[in-house]
């Protein structure tokens, strides 16, 4: 009988996102169980359900052979479940001991008994080798030490099932090593752990078994001793067949529209790595890679959000280095950002306001510094027609739109005037099949019109279906660029796991 059993958990968020779709999964006592999946796969949601921070629409949780009802974190703590959140839940101006004991203080008269609390923290630190000064202010600690505080917080509450949501994402390699030691020790002392990550090597070295989530569903549970990283990678990015896209033969001309030379994104983690590639007119260059290998930095450096970036970015021959984002956009660079809700749209604002936000500063939407609101509305109606944005009218707030229609607003704004180069970062994340198809169509249209398209996607199927070439990003550099004909799922999977000799990028 498994220690923890999750049965048929389903969770829909108020916005309509189906984050967990019939999840079955179990964890044996004393194992370190990996939970992997791309961003948005539903890992955090599932863990928040286990910890009582979210309630499932349906499904059951069984712990130690008994049905568990976890209505709030208190209940989870009572059941011996502890969680280290992806975003730490610490109070920076309290001391380490105060944070650890928060909500469970030892009383002495009216006051907290700081001596006793400090001693308990110290004892726990010693027992598990988690050294940290109980009197230090949390705001003075490094991220690695803050994480220790979070782990101690769980242990202080006598947690037996430890959930760690992407604990390694914020750590240096040395800190990761010591985190692993700590986890092994905790398991040796009788704890069970669920370890979330999207780094395959971590799964391979730390975990006994791993469950892979994709788009809210479990696509498999594997024993790490019996699989290769590439096989897990393939599970993560999916393998179901989608109808082949009608895709004309490469329209690529020899003209380079975008050339990136020796680009350093200024990522502290990925120092000393540079990126080189080019995108031709009429070409879609796909960028594959596990998340966290430099995609965000690359996109931000290209669009001008990284003042520390070094290197040349040539757009139709003009060097964009040092130009503001606005100037880059004026010269024909367009972006579909990874997180449309945070970076792509202003959700409380209306559709027409969002659509106008690309060109509000020039004629015809702006004459002599005066915004022409009526023209904006008219232009918005035309764009809604052209890009099939389904909404009652142009005056509704973007926050009321479905994911697909919201993304169409982004696309309509970016493509209103045809760009020279479009950077599309995870453009179909979280979209249904219909909206996904629409986005693909738009990208292929651009390609036919002679634009250059840089497509960054976590979905290998999408990359294989659309790209003329596929570059694999690994630890901040382009490990290899596959021409379409040579790109196979296996080879790309291997490269994504870093298992390929570096080859000069073509």
């Amino acid at each position: 009988m498994p220690y923890l059993e999750v049965r048929a958990i389903r969770k829909t968020y108020p916005g309509g996102v189906l984050a967990n779709d019939d999840i079955h999964f179990n964890v044996e006592a004393g194992e370190i169980h990996g939970l992997v999946g791309e961003n948005g796969a539903g890992k955090s949601t599932l863990m928040k359900i286990l910890y009582g921070m979210e309630q499932p629409d349906s499904g059951e949780i069984w712990l130690g052979g008994q049905r568990a009802h976890i209505a709030h974190p208190q209940a989870a703590i009572q059941l011996g479940i502890g969680m280290v959140h992806q975003h730490f839940q610490l109070v920076p101006t309290l001391t380490v001991a105060e944070n650890i004991a928060l909500g469970r203080e030892t009383r002495r008269g009216l006051f907290a008994d700081r001596g006793v609390m400090r001693e308990r923290v110290r004892a726990l630190s010693d027992q598990f080798g988690l050294h940290v000064n109980p009197d230090a202010l949390v705001s003075d600690l490094s991220v690695g030490l803050q994480q220790r505080v979070e782990i101690l917080k769980m242990l202080y509450r006598n947690a037996r099932l430890l959930i760690l949501d992407e604990p390694s994402a914020v750590l240096t390699p040395q800190e990761v090593v010591s985190l692993f030691e700590v986890l092994r020790r905790l398991v040796a002392e009788g704890c069970t752990a669920i370890f979330i990550t999207h780094k395959l090597d971590e799964i391979m070295t730390l975990c006994d078994r791993a469950t892979v989530l994709r788009r809210g569903q479990v696509v498999g549970t594997v024993e790490t001793a019996r699989v290769t990283p590439a096989e897990i990678a393939r599970l993560m990015v999916g393998h179901e067949l989608e109808p082949p896209l009608a895709r004309k033969a490469s329209a690529a001309e020899s003209r380079d529209r975008l050339i990136v030379r020796d680009l350093q994104t200024g990522d502290a983690r990925l120092q000393n790595t540079t990126v080189n590639f080019s995108v031709k007119s009429g070409e879609i260059l796909g960028i594959a890679g596990m998340e966290g290998n430099g995609q965000t930095g690359l996109v931000e450096a290209l669009i001008g959000l990284r003042p520390d970036a070094k290197g040349d970015i040539l757009l139709d021959g003009t060097n964009l280095h040092g130009l503001s984002t606005r100037d880059r956009r004026k010269r024909g660079l367009a972006l579909i950002p990874e997180d449309r809700n945070r970076e792509g749209l202003s959700r409380p604002m209306r559709i027409w306001e969002n659509l106008a936000s690309g060109e509000y500063d020039r004629s015809p939407l702006n004459t002599g510094g005066v915004l022409r609101l009526e023209r904006m509305r008219t232009a918005a109606r035309a764009l809604m027609e052209r890009f099939d944005i389904r909404a009652p009218n142009e005056g509704v707030a973007v926050s009321t739109l479905s994911g697909g229609n919201a993304q169409k607003v982004v696309i309509a704004r970016e493509l209103a005037t045809p760009p020279a180069v479009l950077i599309a970062s995870q453009p179909t994340r979280g979209l249904d099949i219909g909206a996904t198809g629409f986005v693909h169509e738009q990208l292929l249209n651009l390609r036919e019109q002679g634009c250059g398209v840089l497509l960054i996607s976590a979905d290998l199927d999408e990359l294989l279906a659309l790209s003329d070439r596929i570059a694999v990003l690994f630890e901040g550099r382009i490990l290899r660029i596959f021409p379409r004909e040579e790109a196979t799922r296996e080879q790309i999977g291997l490269a994504m796991a870093g298992k390929v000799e570096s080859e000069q990028a073509r």
């Binding site: 974190p73 928060l102 907290a112």
Partner: protein, 302 residues
């Protein structure tokens, strides 16, 4: 007048003038620390002053008036807490509403209850009796100036260390700080967030009631429309300057009290229009606080 005596006089009035500021600042500090800044301190004080005079007059006991002021302050603060937490109303708007409500309703009640406007000073209402601290008040010169005060002056001195102890050493106080810093973290360890918010803000309401009581019956025994004259906002400025730390907030209040005491003196000896001097304390406080708190590293410890 001798210089020595002049200085002592200024010290004495500094202490008296900073009392309502100290009390209101501790209230503001509690609200800041729990993450729901209350800009309605001014209104709470005014309501407290009015209540003290009216209830004190009706019941024939100044002390019962003070008690009523505390209760009214707490009730208004509870209302504020309700709208900003339960109904998620905007903090600024809700605080302003308290101020407007207090200012308007006291003037209105003055009219309907006493058929007067401007000032209410019932002849039968006595101000709080001066309290001499045994032994200390016998110290020559200083004793009679510093340790012979209206009782709420001593209360305000006590409230500074008590607020500090409460926030930094007691369990509910620690929870209050945790909520203000990271409400979700507080929630995730099972702290009763709502209850603590009421606690912090209602304690503040009580303190503001006391501050108002001191304005009304600390020295004379009267209520004047808008007699708080911006002190609630000065207290708030002191809190921000102090980055939420009790002792620095207290220091800022004393500083303002001193400028006020000085400007009264200057008014007496100069022919410049008095409004100019009345303005000075506010200007000085803004300048001094801005200069000091602009420095980095000014935000740690308590």
């Amino acid at each position: 007048m001798e210089t020595g005596e002049l200085i002592l006089n200024i010290v004495a009035s500094t202490l008296r003038l900073s009392t309502p500021l100290l009390l209101a600042a501790m209230a503001g500090l509690l609200s800041l620390q729990v993450g729901q800044v209350n800009i309605g301190l001014e209104g709470l004080m005014l309501a407290g002053a009015f209540t003290t005079v009216v209830v004190g007059f009706w019941l024939g006991s100044t002390w019962l008036g003070v008690l009523a002021a505390i209760i009214v302050g707490m009730l208004l603060a509870a209302l504020f807490t309700l709208v900003v937490t339960r109904f998620k109303a905007n903090l600024i708007v809700s605080g302003l509403a308290i101020n407007l409500l207090a200012s308007g309703s006291t003037a209105y009640l003055l009219k309907v209850l006493f058929d007067t406007s401007g000032t209410l000073s019932p002849a039968s209402l006595e101000s709080l009796p001066t309290v001499n601290i045994p032994v200390l008040s016998d110290i020559p010169v200083i004793g009679s100036l510093v340790f012979s005060q209206s009782p709420l002056v001593y209360v305000s001195w006590l409230m500074v260390p008590l607020t500090a102890l409460f926030l930094y050493r007691s369990i509910p106080g620690t929870h209050i700080r945790a909520i203000g810093q990271n409400e979700e973290a507080a929630r995730s360890v099972g702290i009763p967030v709502r209850r603590r918010q009421y606690l912090a803000l209602m304690l503040g309401g009580g303190l503001c009631g006391l501050a108002g009581a001191h304005l009304a019956v600390g020295d004379l025994a009267l209520f004047r429309e808008d007699m708080t004259a911006g002190r609630g906002f000065i207290a708030l400025a002191a809190v921000y300057f102090a980055a939420g730390r009790p002792r620095w907030a207290a220091l800022a209040c004393l500083l303002f009290g001193m400028f006020e005491a000085l400007q009264f003196r200057l008014q007496l000896i100069s022919s410049t229009p008095p409004q100019f001097f009345q303005m000075l304390p506010y200007v000085m406080v803004v300048v001094v606080l801005a200069i000091i708190s602009a420095r980095k590293e000014w935000r740690k410890g308590w």
